[in-house]
C-alpha cells in the first residue's frame, strides 16, 4: 500500500523517541548485548538430553548443540559464533566422550573471548543423573561469574545488529509484513546500525535487482556469484523454498514468493555478502548467504526450516531478529529474541499471544508504511531495553543445526572474500 499523501493524525513515523538509549552488556570484543544469558552446548546428540536437563527450570539458560558424532567445520564455527555472541555471558559445553567435536576446545575459545566457560564429558561424571547435578553446579558458578563480570553501558541504534527472516509467508507478507521490516531496516541503517537479511533461495529471478542494490563493484560481484551459486544449487537438488502453507496463503510460485521476501531488505545499498558465522565488517545492510558451497556430498538442504536461518542471522551477531509470518508461526529462538511481525489481520487476531506486531494496519489504511516502521522501531528499542518479546514470554528458545559445507575455497567468481 502506498503511503497516504496527507495524514490527519500526528506524525508517528519517527517513533516515540527517535534517539533512544538503553542499557546493555559490554563484551570484551567491544560488542554490546541486550541479554546476559548462559548457554549450554552439547557436542553430540547423545549428550543432548543431559544438556536439556541441566538447563531445565533455569530461566536465563539456553541450549544449543550439534547432533552429529562426526564433526563439521561449519557447525563448529556456528556454535562458537553463538557461544561468543554479545547476548551470552557464560558457557557450559557438555559432551558424551566418544564424539569428534571437543567440549574443552569450545570452552577454551569462549574463555579467550573474555567469558567464563566450563566443560565436561558425561562418561567421566557417572552418567545421566550425576552429570545433570554436576552441570547444574557449574551453571550456578558460571552465573555468579557472568553477573560479576557484566559491565552495563549505554546502548543505542548504532550498537544494534538486527536480522530479518520470514516464515509461513502468505500473500500479505510481500505487501505488508516484509515492506514494513524493510522500511525499519532503512531507518536502522540511517542511524548507524547493521541490518542483515538472508534467504537467498527466495531471490529466484531477482539477480539484476540484487546487483542494482550493490554498494560497490565488489559487492555487486559477490551478489552475482551468490545468486549463481544458489540457482545451481536449487536446480541440482530440485528444491525450491516454497511450502504447502505458502500455496494455501495465496503464493503460487517461488518467483512470486521471492519478490515478496526480497522486500524485507528495504532500500539501502547492500554492502556485501556474509557467509554463515561471519560478522558484518562495518555497519549497513548486508546479505547473508546460507546456501551450501558446491561439495561432492551436496549436503545440507538449504533453508530446511526457519530456525536454521534465524540461527545464521544470530551467528552473524544479531541481538534481535524480526520474524515476518503471514500465516502465523509459533517459534522463538535461542540466544537472541525474536520479534514476530504479521501482515495478516486474521493471524493477528487468531494468534495474538504469539504475535508482537500487527503490520496488517498498512493494508487497511490505518497506518502508513512509515508510521508502522516508527512503531516497530519503538518495539525493537523496548525489547532491547529488556522487555521480553512474545516468544520470550512464552519460553520459546528453538535451535537447529545440521551438517553443511561452506568452506570450499575454490568457488569461482568472487564469492569468497
Amino acid at each position: 500500500m502506498p503511503d497516504r499523501a496527507a495524514s490527519l493524525v500526528p506524525d508517528r513515523s519517527l517513533g516515540r523517541t527517535p534517539d533512544r538509549v538503553w542499557s546493555g552488556y559490554l563484551r570484551p570484543d567491544g560488542r554490546k548485548g541486550i541479554r546476559n544469558h548462559l548457554l549450554v552446548v552439547y557436542t553430540v546428540e547423545c549428550a543432548s538430553f543431559v544438556a536439556q536437563e541441566i538447563a531445565k527450570d533455569e530461566s536465563d539458560t539456553h541450549v544449543i548443540g550439534f547432533p552429529g558424532c562426526y564433526d563439521n567445520d561449519y557447525a563448529i564455527r556456528l556454535m562458537l559464533a553463538l557461544a561468543t555472541h554479545p547476548n551470552i555471558g557464560g558457557v557450559l559445553a557438555v559432551g558424551l566422550g566418544c564424539e569428534y567435536t571437543q567440549p574443552h576446545r569450545i570452552a577454551e575459545a569462549v574463555r579467550a573471548s573474555g567469558r567464563p566457560a566450563e566443560s565436561f564429558f558425561i562418561q567421566e561424571h557417572g552418567g545421566t543423573r550425576l552429570s545433570i547435578a554436576y552441570g547444574k553446579e557449574l551453571l550456578a558458578s558460571l552465573r555468579a561469574r557472568a553477573s560479576e563480570t557484566a559491565v552495563k553501558v549505554p546502548m543505542t541504534w548504532a550498537d544494534l545488529t538486527i536480522g530479518a527472516e520470514c516464515g509461513g509467508s502468505d500473500g500479505t507478507s510481500g505487501l505488508a509484513g516484509n515492506p514494513v521490516v524493510g522500511r525499519t531496516f532503512d531507518r536502522l541503517v540511517d542511524r548507524g546500525g547493521s541490518a542483515i537479511f538472508e534467504e537467498v533461495v527466495e531471490m529466484i529471478g531477482l539477480r539484476d535487482l540484487m546487483i542494482a542494490r550493490a554498494a560497490s563493484p565488489r559487492a555487486a560481484q559477490q551478489l552475482g556469484a551468490t545468486y549463481d551459486k544458489m540457482l545451481n544449487y536449487c536446480k541440482a537438488v530440485r528444491q525450491y523454498s516454497v511450502a504447502p502453507g505458502n500455496f494455501a496463503g495465496g503464493l503460487t510460485t517461488i518467483e512470486e514468493k521471492s519478490m515478496g521476501a526480497f522486500a524485507k531488505g528495504g532500500s539501502q545499498p547492500i554492502q556485501g555478502v556474509l557467509r554463515v558465522s561471519e560478522r558484518p565488517p562495518h555497519p549497513g545492510l548486508w546479505l547473508l548467504d546460507s546456501v551450501p558451497d558446491e561439495h561432492f556430498m551436496q549436503f545440507g538442504y538449504t533453508n530446511p526450516n526457519d530456525t536454521e536461518g534465524i540461527m545464521d542471522l544470530i551467528a552473524a551477531g544479531a541481538q534481535i531478529v524480526l520474524f515476518i509470518t503471514g500465516r502465523g508461526s509459533v517459534i522463538g529462538s535461542a540466544v537472541s529474541p525474536l520479534i514476530k511481525v504479521t501482515g495478516n489481520e486474521r493471524t493477528w487476531r487468531n494468534m495474538s499471544e504469539d504475535m508482537d506486531f500487527n503490520a496488517s494496519r498498512v493494508l487497511s489504511g490505518e497506518l502508513t508504511m512509515d508510521e508502522a516502521a516508527g512503531e516497530l522501531m519503538d518495539l525493537i528499542a523496548d525489547v532491547a531495553s529488556g522487555e521480553p518479546s512474545k516468544p520470550e514470554r512464552l519460553g520459546h528458545r528453538e535451535f537447529f543445526l545440521m551438517y553443511k559445507h561452506q568452506d570450499v575455497p575454490s568457488l569461482e567468481a568472487g564469492c569468497r572474500v
Partner: protein, 114 residues
C-alpha cells in the same frame, strides 16, 4: 445486481496483470482494485481468499503472469478477468513440482506414503 459485500485488492505495479486480495471476496462480489495504476472496478468470478490473486485482464494460455512488475509464472490455460489465479492455472518457470499441489491446501500430491 450483486448482493455480495465489496472486497478490495491491491495491484503492486502498474504493469501487473493480477492483484492481491486484501480481504476475502465471495463469488460475484464487486472488487475495488487499488494501487499505483489507480482505482478500477472488477467483479470476482469466484470466491477468492485474502492474500490470493485475481486476474485484472484476460491472460492467454502460455502468457506471463505479472506481479510486482516481474513474471511470477506462466498461465497454463486461458484466464478471464476476475478469475482466481493460482496453482490450477499458473505454474512456475523453474520449480518442477509446481502443478502437483492441491489448489486449496497446497498439499503435495507427487510423493508416495506407502
Amino acid at each position: 445486481m450483486s448482493v455480495e459485500p465489496a472486497a478490495s485488492a491491491f495491484q503492486v505495479h502498474a504493469s501487473d496483470n493480477v492483484a492481491t486480495l486484501l480481504s476475502e471476496a465471495a463469488a460475484g462480489a464487486p472488487l475495488e482494485i487499488v494501487g499505483p495504476a489507480g482505482r478500477r472496478d472488477l467483479t470476482a468470478r469466484e470466491k477468492i481468499e485474502l492474500g490470493h490473486k485475481v486476474a485484472l485482464v484476460a491472460i492467454p494460455e502460455g502468457a506471463p503472469v505479472v506481479k510486482f512488475g516481474i513474471v511470477i509464472g506462466i498461465a497454463t490455460r486461458p484466464i478471464e478477468p476476475g478469475e482466481w489465479v493460482h496453482l490450477h492455472n499458473c505454474r512456475s518457470q523453474l520449480d518442477e513440482r509446481s502443478g502437483h499441489f492441491d489448489v486449496h491446501t497446497g498439499e503435495p500430491g507427487d510423493n508416495a506414503y506407502a
